[in-house]
Each structure stands twice: as structure tokens, then as C-alpha cells.
Subunit: 327 residues, 2 copies
Amino acid sequence: MIEKFQHTIKEEIEKLSADYSLPPSELYEPIRYMFDMGGKRIRPLFVLLACDIYGGRTEEAVAAALALELFHNFSLVHDDIMDNAPMRRNHPTVHQKWNSSTAILSGDVMLVKAYQLVQKSKIAERILPVFSEMAVKVCEGQQWDLNYEKVKTISVAQYFEMIGLKTAALIAASMKIGALLGGADKNNAELMNEFGYNTGMAFQLQDDLLDVYGNEKKFGKQSGGDIIANKKTYLLIKAIELSAINRYKKEELEQWLSFVPKEEKDIAEKIHGVKSIYDFVKVKEITEREINLFHKKAVASLEKISAPADKKKVLADFTSKLLLRES
Amino acid sequence: MIEKFQHTIKEEIEKLSADYSLPPSELYEPIRYMFDMGGKRIRPLFVLLACDIYGGRTEEAVAAALALELFHNFSLVHDDIMDNAPMRRNHPTVHQKWNSSTAILSGDVMLVKAYQLVQKSKIAERILPVFSEMAVKVCEGQQWDLNYEKVKTISVAQYFEMIGLKTAALIAASMKIGALLGGADKNNAELMNEFGYNTGMAFQLQDDLLDVYGNEKKFGKQSGGDIIANKKTYLLIKAIELSAINRYKKEELEQWLSFVPKEEKDIAEKIHGVKSIYDFVKVKEITEREINLFHKKAVASLEKISAPADKKKVLADFTSKLLLRES
């Protein structure tokens, strides 16, 4: 089922890409560029899976599925400008390959095209408010993220609220929209929303964890990009919180945070230094426990859903696999 | 009627502004800031006037009217980043007052909020496609505008297509959406679209003209900002075209275009120099004739519309006044 849907999404994205070959090319090429980069495409997959669970015709959910992927790409293109990110999925970001103006404008048109795809849905009048509410949340989440860059540290509650808006809201909306298109009633659509929200939270924490501890066993190396950028991930926020009671560790962490690596060996040193504090306060285990909690909440919502057990199992298994991923 | 609607729009914008006082303030304050700047607010006015012409309840068109003003502000905020514009309506632009990230993100949320307002309309399913199609056109127009900055000159046809997308499409959509909300049939809605398109074209050409010849009689001065920026307005494109047959004038214009003013007196000199070529090739008269042609086309569409003569007259008079404005 998963492979079949992934194949459908791939095919439909290719078809859609062909529509974006018109001039002005500077406006439409970045849409194809972002699609060609690939990525996990979990948002459209969740739309189709959620639709299928309720016995809906997934052909009728394809437009909305593509809308959510396009919206995701819009937010990536604009976020990358704001974050001054040079690379995304191993390719130069849109503002890097073209320029900021093109990235702003092609992002804008991606958002409008996403709306046009949502409008194609049979029950567009019910999907659109969910989509818009999600879009507002994603913007708010990004704004909090920008604001928090300027402060020394934030609380776990603030961090959860921020990723709830920026990341989990989009996964939640994918599930809810898919469920509505599949014919779910209000209560079931809400349960799918909760399932998506908690999955999204776990997914983001997993992302934070993988940046430091990912691929270690597999490749014997890690990237640590978040550590180098002093990015306020769950791991860092928690490590700051936990090291506060140990004056020596607290000062050590603060020193690493104010240390700007200039050479290759400085980078490795900073990653090693921060990681040793993470290990000392056992932040890996704490994060895994938190991921587990969100995962359990997600599963609890899924269990309450009125749908065939075998179909629910497909979604549950896929989510578990996603949260056990190592890259 | 005009004053009554203008008053309604002012009141409704104030009410809407109050909704945007929530955190994160960096995201929502720019929305209020743009509203507080004022501006002509002709787009929401056109929505209400078009609705009224067909005997519609204008209360039910208020949300869509606000959506079009909010969309207009979204496009101004993003365009100002791309154009690196420091001022707008005598105030610092959003990216200047805050920063580019805030301008990108608050622009994004303005676009989403505009969609949420359109969704409130009773016949949202008919309005939304018109709104989205317009939004795509405005993005395309801005992209052409950016592309044309890099070339030496463009044809009048290219210029008309560009302003047709960037400016006239938004006025056209305001009229069409208002008409649909007022109960116009397909044919009448299309006529209102044509009326709006031609009015929008005339309006933009008037804008080009006013930048060079505006306020002259009234204030005895002119700004000439477009001349200083070598902006490809109708006047410049036409002057390049017309001076081509006169080798001396052609070279003179080219010299002025490559002259970058550094001091106050250089600015005045360049404006005076370019303007004397404009006068020589009679570009003022040519532009006025072109404005007149678009205005006549607009009036012809309005005449074909099935609506009470007195109501049509209100719209016709307002448009004429708008196209005779001196600032």
C-alpha cells in the first residue's frame, strides 16, 4: 500500500511538474527544482493513507496531497532565505541558485498554486479552512523560531509550542485533510489530526536527535550541524536546563556555545565538546523517551479511530518505521 | 455612495486591524502598519461598487473587499523587498522598519489571511478561483518586471502585458468578484472584469505620467523618481522607441540613462534632461491618448452591462475622477 501510494505521488508530481514549464521560467523553474530534489514526501503520503483508512477514493485526494507537498516546499524556500541556508537536500537552495527575489516570488506562487490544488477537491469548502488555519500556524511557528534565535535559551514548553506550529501542524493537517476526503466524520477527523500532531512532534524530536546521534552506527560519523549553529533544538534546551545544577558543566556548555569554530578541527572539537555534555546529562535517553511519549499518544488516537484494523496497522507500522529511521 | 463605501471600508479595516494584535507581534504588526498607512483603497471600493451595481448586499461583499486590500498589501510588502524600496506611502517599508525575514513572513501570512477572508464569502467556491487566478497573474507580472530590469529596453506590447498582469489583473478581479457577489451572471461578470482591466491599465499609465508630470501645476514641482531609477515606464519605452529615428536625440537619451546622479543638482539635471527629450517626442500627449483609449474601452464595457443607469454612472464618474487625478 505504502509503495503503491509513493509511486502514485511520484507520478503525479512528475505530471504536475510538466505544467510548470511555461514562462516566466524564473518563476516556475524553482517549483520543478524543488520537486526534483525529492525528499521523503511524507505529507502527501499521509493524505492518501488517511483517505484510504476511511475507504475514500484516493484518486480524489491526489490534488490535496500535492497541495500539501507544494505548501511544504513553499515554506522551505522562504525559510531558507530567512535562515540564510546555502544547501537543502544536498542541493543549493533556491535563493542561492537564483536569488532572493526569485525565491520570494516563486515561493509566493507555490503557495497560490497549492491553494488552486486544494480548490480542486470535491469538498474544497471543508478542506480550505483546515488548510488556511494550518498555513497561519506554520507562519507563526517560523516567526517564533526567528524570535527565539535572539534569546539565550527558551523553555521546553516554548520549544514544543514552536515546533507544534512549525512542523506538527502541517503533518496534522495532512492527516485531517486526508481523513475528511476519505469521508471521516468530525470526531474521526479530529482524532486523525491528533494522530498527525503527535507524530509530527515525535518526527521533529527525532530530527533533532539524528543531527547529533544519527547514522553513527551505520556510517561511523555524524554531522552535528545543529551544534555548530548553536541551534536551539530539544537537545540543547534540555542540556542547558539539566546542566544548570552543575556549575562546572554549565560553564563548559556556555563556553562551547560562545566558541565559533574557524577551522575543520575546531568544528570537530565543538561537536565533541557539546556532545560530551549531552552524554553527561543523558539527553539522548531523555529525547528518546520524549519521542516515545509522543509516539504513544499518536498510537492512542489511532486506536480510537473507527476504521478497519488492517488499514490502521499500515499507518501505525509506517509511522513506527519513520520514527525509528536513522537518517 | 462613494463616501459611504469608503467610510465602511475604513471602519472595517479598523475592526480587522484589532484582530491582529496577538503575538507573535513581529508577524502581525506589519499587517496593521500597512493598513494604518492608508492609501487609496480603491480595490475594496471597486468590490463594493461592483456588488452594488447588481443590487447585491454590500455587507456580504465586505470580507472579499478586505481580502483584496490585504492581498494588495501582501504584494507591496514583498515587491518592496525585491525592489529594495526604502519608502512607501511616505513611511519606511516593512523590510526597512523591521527586516527582510519579517517582511517575507508577514507578507506570507497576509496572503493566507486574504484567503481566509475570501473563504468567508457566501459563494466562496466561485470567488476563490478568480482570486487565485489573479494572484498567479500578479506574481507573473512581478517576475516579468524583474526580468525586464536586466534588459536595455522592452516593447510597448511587453510592457502592456506586464502591467496587465501586475496591476490591471488585480483591479479586474476586484470588479469581477464584486459583481459575482452582487449576483451578476457570467457574461456581466466578464464585462466587469474587462471594465476593471482597462481601468487598471489606464490607472497604471496615469501613474507613470504623474511621476514625471504630476502635481506640476498644483505644487510647481515634480518627483521624477522613475527617471532617476531608469524605470521602464511607458514614457521611457515610448521615448526610446520614438527617439530611435533621431540619432542625436537617441544618443542624448542613452547618455542620460547611463548617467548616475550623485548630488542633488545631478538629480535635477537628469530629470530635466530626460524630460526635455520626453517633451521633444511628445510622450506626454501620447500617454494621455493611450490613457484615453483604455478609458474608452472601460466605458464601452460598462455601457454593455445590464444594470441601472444611475448606479453605472456612479462607477463611471468615480473612474473618470480617478483617471484625472493629479497625485
